[in-house]
Amino acid sequence: MNSETLLSLIFAYLALACVAFAVLVIMLRNPVQCALALVGVVFHLAGIFILLRAEFLAAAHIIIYAGAIIVLFLFTMMLLNLGVVERARQFHVQAPLAIVVGAILFLEFVVLTGATITVGAQGAHSPAWVAGQGGNVQALGQVLFRDYLLPFEIASVLLTAAVVGAIVLAKQKPRRPRSSSQMGVGEWMAERYEKAKTREQDPAEPR
């Protein structure tokens, strides 16, 4: 077996697994299991990126999607304690819309694949250019921090503003003093500890 067929086999596995997990995402009844199937999609997609020699993209894909975004989904779903969704009703309502969107996406897929085969890949950043930069990490660094530095910096400032905004919204001071049932456990313990400390310093107060 030469390396060409080996790569094709690996690609076939990754692609099939991607589709299978994607189907599981919408077919499984338990939302937590759906989210885990989505993790499966993300992992196999990262595998395809590695086959395309885009290792940085693969690692970033796993860190951002699997490591952050889907974990957030999971947290939300675990805390909301969603039940098992009725399968029949879910598909019944969405079917016409899904068919239309699916048809459009499939058409786009056919057009893009056809164009890639007939015209070839477009753009200045060809595989040869990336190899000339010394690898995809270096190439990405060149593009992000030299060619598109200003848009990159603007995007960073926007993201920072969004993070600060989210914290400010979440940390709004409550109007009235909170009862102990509204406090976090740590906060409640800390308050109790403070109280105990002041009592120790004040010998007049009876224990």
């Binding site: 030469n2 390396s3 338990n30 937590v32 299991q33 885990l36 993790v39 290792e55 940085f56 693969a58 690692a59 970033a60 796993i62 860190i63 699997a66 490591g67 952050a68 974990v71 999971l74 947290f75 675990m78 690898g135 995809n136 990490v137 976090g184 456990v185 740590g186 906060e187 313990m189 800390a190």
Partner: protein, 339 residues
Amino acid sequence: MTELVIAVIVKSLIAFAIPLLVVPPLIWGERRILGRIQSRIGPNRVGPFGAFQTLADAVKLLGKEDMIPAGADRALFILAPFLLFVPSFMAWSVVPIGTELHIFGRVIGLYPTDLNVGLLYILALTSVSVYGIVMAGWASNSKYALLGSLRSSAQMISYEIMLGLALVGVVVLAGSLSLPEIVRQQQVPYAIPLIIGTFVFVCAALAETNRAPFDLPEAETELVSGYHVEYSGWRFSFFFLAEYANMLLASFLVSAVFLGGGWPAQFLEPYIGHLWATLLALFFMVSKVFLFLFFYFWLRATLPRFRYDQMMNFCWKVLLPLGLLNLAVATVLKLTVYA
């Protein structure tokens, strides 16, 4: 082609064998050292100096009844230990124990693979191991396990960021994400110029591996343990094994990335020859790993456990500013000393 395949298989086996073979003596060593520090003897009955204690414990764990709680999500309950165990072993495929060995006219890399995004790969796998914790807590269908898993996953997600932030400084100085390249670049171990980053990394690594003083899942008496409270027998041992494999991984990472791997053996190469210098480098690397592991045990015996809110405050109010400061220091150094 065949030669390449054989080399890959041998290296993969070695990479897989390191954590599996080192962890049992490690557990025994930890218990002996803890015993010494706490003025007691530690395990001393099974085998010479109690060296087979871990083996006996493993047999005990395997022989225990395998319990799955009623109302648990069976599939996820079974899957969860593996979700934690598999990433911690996958990470070993990029860990270098040295740089290159030139022998019999060929070059043997003393690392399983030289992945050009090695550091990111390790960070990706640490971020994925959160799933094992979340799933273990959720699938157990127990409020204590669920609370424990929320606590632990919040801890892991927060400290993971600090882990990455500390490594950014190293990446800036080395100009590479590949671990062997980072080792090669260190004329002086990065722990000296990036002392702040080293501190941040060590703290974050302690928290990521759930070790003292961040070992909230170990707190049986006050927090009813953690995400693995419903697990027993060999399923529990998987959590245990993953924790120690992660600990060993963190020690290898600190030694390779911050302590210069086999430094300073490479300077002796002109005097004692390549082979001896490589062997000496391996010796230095392994010594650093074991020194760091000893540091782990020492901390466990010495420090009290953080309260949950103290732990979170420490992460976001101490480590985050320090990590940013480290990045600033690294940038300045890159433009001046390392230019």
